[in-house]
């Protein structure tokens, strides 16, 4: 279908020139999807036209097997030509230059070996051309010495790459070239380019009209006009690209390609990202591992733990040892791990020892603390009771303990407490003395028979004692008061007996006595209120 919907015109000229036989060869084949054009130039001197045709036929056979425009196919075709020439049964080694052009009626690709040339024209310009694979000596040409047979031969046939070479074959294969309407492709052999300069050839092809025949006739004319002394085999082929095949499904195909390529790119991108991510993770893990590893080494090589252990900072030391052990385990650093474990065991042992010591110390310390506190409590209770001297004692003991413990805060507290208790004690002592005086006065009164006064005094004293919380004194005073009561009651009975005699006198005396007692009681009360030294109610 491609061939039918495009227009490619091909024509060629091929003559022997002065030589007896034409050792050049040109042929082409056009299939439905592809077309193949081959030009070959036999390089053998003997009248042997085999090499060019052998090479060309090999190319066509290869192309036929699998027609395509790929680089591989073109390479395979050229290598087939080379192989055919190498393996040919001939008297001498066959050599040939060859150029192959394959097109799919839209694009083209060419490959060549040797010095057969190709030129691609478009709108009057040469856009592609082949380059000879020859080791031509430019210097010798310029000297223009009368060249001997051998030098001539060498100059002509000095190719570093040709079909029939065998090993070291390196054909030149072009890129895929897009064809446009109006393109012209020219293929020609040495017979042409030896005689015609490139510029001349270009001028002919640039002015090319629709049919290739005209152009080729012009080429031949120019060559023969020059009348070269040695015109050897010359061949020139022209391919006129009048109409290139336009693919109607092109847009659809392009769309499909774009979609597929985008999808592919996305998948690739995702895969790449995932890969990178995993690599990153792994790298991180590796770094971590390395870091821990180096840390382990550092730890183990340091005597860090040991100093820590020595300092008694067992917590931290233990932590470090454990960490070291973990690191070592993770890194399979068996020796290190063992070291760490040993150190850890030692640590535990020493820690236990210290702990026990600590416990004992703590315990003693604790007991000390407890006793001091209890002493203070005792002192406080005594203070509260008014037993300042006891409190003082307690405080002193507690102070001692605190000083032993080194607890300055508590010691200070206790100190202040003992000071206040001493103050209070002093005050208490004064009070006690006052109470003693009251008692004394009271007993004086009692002796004087002034019972009520005595009672009064005793009551004063009792109050003070009660204030001072001297209970035994209070009990003592109560005893005294009871005695007083008894003596008062006795006196009263006596008085009653006397009062029968003098009832009126007794009654009057009783009432006087009752009124005195009341007044004494009142006075005692008021006197109680007005406590002070030497307040007597006489």
């Amino acid at each position: 279908m491609r061939k039918q919907n495009s227009s490619f015109q091909t024509d060629f000229i091929s003559e022997a020139g002065i030589d007896l036989t034409n050792n050049d060869y040109f042929a082409y084949v056009e299939y439905d999807k592809y077309a193949c054009y081959v030009i070959a130039d036999g390089l053998n001197e003997e009248p042997d036209p085999m090499s060019a045709s052998l090479a060309s036929q090999a190319v066509f056979l290869k192309f036929q097997e699998h027609p395509s425009m790929s680089r591989q196919t073109l390479g395979a075709c050229l290598r087939a030509a080379d192989k055919a020439l190498c393996e040919a049964e001939s008297r001498e080694l066959l050599k040939a230059s060859i150029t192959v052009v394959i097109t799919d009626f839209v694009n083209m690709r060419y490959g060549y070996l040797g010095n057969t040339r190709l030129r691609h024209y478009r709108k009057g310009f040469v856009i592609n051309q082949s380059h000879d694979m020859s080791l031509a000596n430019e210097d010798a040409k310029q000297q223009r010495l009368p060249e001997d047979t051998l030098a001539e031969h060498e100059e002509r046939n000095n190719l570093y790459s040709y079909a029939g070479q065998g090993r070291g074959l390196a054909p030149t294969i072009s890129q895929k070239i897009k064809l446009e309407n109006g393109d012209v492709i020219a293929l020609y052999t040495r017979g042409i380019w030896e005689v015609l300069e490139a510029k001349e050839l270009d001028s002919i092809f640039v002015e090319a009209v629709d049919s290739p025949q005209e152009t080729l006739k012009e080429v031949e004319k120019r060559i023969l006009e020059k009348q070269p002394k040695q015109l050897e085999n010359y061949t020139c082929a022209a391919i006129f690209v009048n109409k290139v095949f336009l693919d109607p499904n092109r847009k659809r195909t392009i769309k499909k390609i774009i979609i597929i390529s985008i999808a592919a790119v996305l998948i690739m991108a995702i895969l790449a990202l995932a890969f990178c991510f995993f690599r990153y993770q792994r790298q991180k893990q590796l770094d971590e591992l390395n870091r821990r590893y180096t840390n382990t080494i550092e730890y183990i090589q340091d005597s860090n733990f040991d100093t820590l252990a020595a300092q008694g900072d067992y917590e931290r030391a233990e932590e470090k040892y454990l960490e070291a052990k973990n690191l070592a385990t993770r890194v399979y650093f068996e020796a290190g791990r063992q070291d760490a474990m040993n150190s850890l065991d030692d640590l535990y042992v020493s820690r236990n020892e210290t702990e026990q010591g600590d416990v004992a110390a703590a315990q003693s310390k604790a007991s000390n603390e407890v006793s001091a506190a209890s002493l203070v409590a005792e002192g406080d209770s005594a203070f509260a009771k008014g037993d300042y001297s006891t409190a003082n004692v307690y405080y002193a003991m507690a102070l001692e303990k605190y000083e032993e413990l080194g607890d300055t805060a508590h010691a200070g507290l206790v100190q202040s407490k003992s000071e206040s208790s001493s103050q209070k004690a002093d005050a208490g002592i004064l009070k006690e003395q006052e109470a003693e005086i009251y008692l004394q006065i009271g007993s004086d009164h009692e002796a004087a028979g002034e019972m009520l006064d005595a009672k009064k005094q005793y009551l004063f004293a009792k109050n003070i004692y009660r204030e001072l919380q001297l209970d035994d004194k209070v009990a003592e005073v109560d005893g005294l008061l009871d005695l007083l009561e008894v003596s008062m009651a006795a006196n009263k009975a006596k008085a009653e007996a006397e009062s029968f005699a003098a009832e009126r006198e007794a009654a009057a005396a009783q009432s006087e006595a009752a009124a005195q007692t009341e007044a004494a009681a009142d006075d005692g009360k008021t006197a109680k209120n007005a406590i002070g030294p030497g307040v007597s109610t006489q």
């Binding site: 008297r91 001498e92 001997d148 046939n157």
Partner: protein, 282 residues
């Protein structure tokens, strides 16, 4: 002893010597003389084989002077031993002519002179039994090759793994080409004659004229080979085989022997005498 008796004795002695020499010469020997003359600039190897023939009619000679080297190869043809005599005579003449030092400096003239003299002597010697010889001579001096050929001795130079023939030779096909280029033959006729390798010119012929002499002397490069071959070699074995053989490692002598061995190993009827001289220049 009388004078007469003495003379007879001396003559008899000479005859014995000559007979001895004759016998020696008559022996067909395949391997070449180990003339590995590695004198400064040359290395030479030679070899020949009788093939399926009765007589070895190929001969060669070398002259190595300090200044240069001359080698000559002759392929004789004729009844009985006439071919042999023709080739031997030619060799001798060339060796004599190129005894002169000045001959080395004027090869063109002396080639012609030598050929003409050889022709004359051959004709003289073989008046009835017509024997002829193809002779090829190569003179190398200062890495330059001068050559001359009459007949079908091939001279070739091995350069860049390629054996390039230098001489055309006096065979019909070459003549036809020449005539065609002169315009005296049509292409068709020429092409028809291209398969004909018959000799049309040789030493020992009445009216001997053409000698193919070099136009331009060949400038050689160090390490290159110059080959002189009789048709027994290049007609029997493939050109590419010769090239392959020269491309291998080995001395000139070993290569010459290898080439001749290839000829011997080839299965062919009526193989001609084959001889080759391999020269390597340094």
């Amino acid at each position: 002893m009388t004078l007469l008796e003495l003379t007879i004795a001396i003559l008899f002695l000479i005859m014995l010597i000559l007979c001895f020499m004759r016998v020696l010469l008559a022996l067909p020997h395949r391997s070449g003389k180990p003339s590995q003359n590695s004198i400064d600039s040359f290395e030479i190897g030679t070899a020949k084989t009788i093939g399926d023939r009765e007589v070895q009619e190929d001969e060669y000679g070398t002259n190595n002077f300090g200044e240069g080297l001359m080698v000559v190869l002759a392929d004789g043809q004729g009844k009985l031993h006439s071919g042999r005599i023709a080739s031997l005579t030619s060799i001798q003449v060339f060796q004599e002519v190129f005894q002169l030092r000045e001959a080395f400096y004027n090869p063109q003239y002396y080639f012609g002179k030598a050929f003409r003299r050889a022709n004359k002597e051959v004709l003289q010697k073989l008046a009835d039994n017509r024997g002829t010889a193809s002779v090829g001579v190569a003179l190398i001096r200062d890495l330059t090759l001068y050559y001359a050929v009459v007949g079908n001795i091939k001279i070739a130079v091995y350069r860049n793994r390629e054996l390039v023939p230098i001489s055309a030779g006096h065979t019909i096909d070459m003549l036809a080409k020449q005539k065609y280029q002169e315009g005296k033959l049509t292409k068709q006729e020429t092409v028809a004659l291209l398969e004909n390798h018959r000799l049309y010119n040789f030493v020992g012929r009445d009216g001997f004229r053409d000698v193919e002499v070099f136009d331009t002397p060949i400038v050689l490069r160090t390490g290159e080979y110059v080959l002189l071959m009789s048709d027994g070699v290049y007609e029997t074995i493939r050109w590419r085989d010769i090239e392959e053989c020269l491309g291998k490692e080995g001395s000139c002598q070993s290569k010459a022997e290898a080439l001749v061995e290839m000829v011997d190993q080839k299965r062919q009827n009526d193989k001609d005498n084959a001889s080759v001289i391999v020269i390597r220049v340094y």
